[in-house]
Amino acid sequence: MNDSENEDRNENSSDNSSDNGSESSARVPLHERRRPWWHWQRVARSRPRLAVIMTVTGALLGALLGGAGVAWRAGVGPFADDRACWGALAQDDVAALFDGKRDIETSEVPITSDRIGSEGPSGECRLTSPRGRRITVQAHQLDTGFGGAGDRWADEFLSARLTPLGDGLLGMASDTRAWLAVPDGCIGRPSGVDVNSGPTVIDMETGWTVYDDEVDTEGRDALARAVVKLVNHYMAEEGCTSEIADPVRRMSGPPRALDEKKDAMCGVKGLRLPAAFEHEGRGATVVTRGGGPVRTCDRDVLFGHPELRLMTIEDPRLAMLYDRLSHDGAKDQVKVGEQDGYGFVRDDMGLFQAECQTGQVTFLVRAEDGRRPGDIRTILPRYVAAEADRIGCGPLRVTLPASG
């Protein structure tokens, strides 16, 4: 109806305006001859033809709208949001990890579980800057079968340079490393049969180890935020409804080199510093700041490895890592109350796995080599007693087997 009325008006106006186009074809009405062949009124000459055209146009428009809508919701095509690392990190999040640079390339292996789920989920994502800096993100289940001695993960990710994320989270961050365990419950380590397996963690490492004891707070905060986003996204993908809040505001400041007193090695009151471990010009003592789940004291770190590490792991999920090892070294087993725990001492390390009210707690004294067995034997019982008191697991008195 509208169309015919429009036609009439158009007819009038065209009559007034022009009179060329007289080279006639008898069938085409005069007013149409004046229009180019593609003019809609010429194309839609008749009502059936108009109807067909309207239908086709409508269908096309609908398809376009629908397609655009789907693309929008699915985040593809022009609506794609180039999210990195399994879709967890937006471009801004990635830029925050690379001093605002936006030319970061990403590659990834999706997070999947092996068919029987025996090793837990795993996946990897790599962020690479054309200037050479890169960040590797890994999702994996910590292997409780590993030994504490010289193990790379514990060395790097439980280092005193890292600060706990706080609020009961099992995770830590520094300016070069960050990790966070997927909280138990929705996914991650359920209770029951899996209670003896390690936690599933997502960890991040920047390409190189920093030998500097000072931690850059801004860089640390960026990694801490990113690792929480990665875990939140992983949980959401698995259908969990909870979300971990931004951890940065509740984290302690990064650790500083400790002014170590002779009768308070690693800041542990009453723990005398053996003469052999006194700093000789080089080296420093760095102790984890903030409350739990891990307190590590690294002394004289060289190429990422401390010459001596004293470590307390309060969270039973992480202490599980040392459960198997603590049963090793049977010949030098330490003695305690029957149900207080078990452990051993050997030339390069002492380990005590305590049964506290909160669950298993690990106390570890570990030297780079076995050159000072006497000092390890001196430190272990005192360290265990002092730390057990601090975390509320005292009194714990371990006695050592006769040396030899």
Binding site: E5, N6, Q357, G392
Partner: protein, 368 residues
Amino acid sequence: MKQLMGGARRRAVLVGGAVAVLVAAGAGTWATDTWPFDGKDTYCWGAWKEDSGPDFLSGDALDEDNAGRTSKETAPTPRRQRGRCTVALHSERADSSDGGKVVEETEITVTYGPAPKSAAERMEWIGGYLGDRSMPLPDGLPGATDGRQALLVLPEGCDTEDGRPTTVTLDSMARSVYSDNTMSGDAGLGGSQSVARLLVAAANRAMEKADCAPAKPLEADSPMPTLPEDDEDFFTRACRIRGLEFSEKASRDMEYQVGTVTRDLQSCSVRTDHGNGRYFDALMVAQPRLSALFDGATGSKAPARGWRGTGVFADDYKVVRADCAGRPLNVLMLAPSAHEKTPYFAAFANAVTRRVGCAPVAPGGSSR
């Protein structure tokens, strides 16, 4: 204007505009998953919506014949600080084994109001919600849940006139009634995380009705901690606490369950008869708002010689409150009075206070 735009053309523009607005609005509602007139039922003062997550609210719960969901509710008001709402599911099906009929019943109840006034009743009530397998609610909310029941203490603004805290509790019941017996089942609450959200949603609505809602609604977004361990039936020391020792012979039919162990809350339950009977339920509560639930029930003098703080040793429970690092710490033991359990209570009280770094409560303890 009239000349530029004839009646028909104006109509066309109006129709086109209306269509555009409708399409945009439709796309918006679709994209945001909102719909103004979806005809879905809401429950518990509008806090819960049909099909919004947990099974008991879903359409699937009503798939069977003769299935129905009913609800009842009384909202609290500024004058009457009590309320209750119940969502019940009822369905019937034929029992394939004997041709009889099986009735499935589920009932979820939310109660708004103060804790029970009677001390004995209140101690049992506190132990029921905070002890055994319950874990603290996320985001620092003063409360706990084990996935089947839950308790939340509301902010001070909702306290009763005599200063008692108001709480919101959630309880659930699910059972299948056969012709010859009854079995308990799963209420379809969707686990602890979901219960925490249901509880907080109901609490927020109830506080609005009672006119004591805080400026910012309560939230339970962070992951809910989960119980780190299962019950243990092979032991001589319960809950890894020194002094809770049992002979191998005595503990043969017993089991223990370690619940929460934090600075705010700790529980240890010891059961007899393979978990069916209570030997004791021991609980420590130091979180200030949860601690307020004990107000007025812990007596005015030491419960016995040598104990620190104030307390009451009654037939079915023992409770002591003492200062710990500037805040009151309460220890509670619920136990049938058949056996003398004061030594276990003393051991628990001193082990827990030592763990959190306070002076001992019971006689004979030593501090660190």
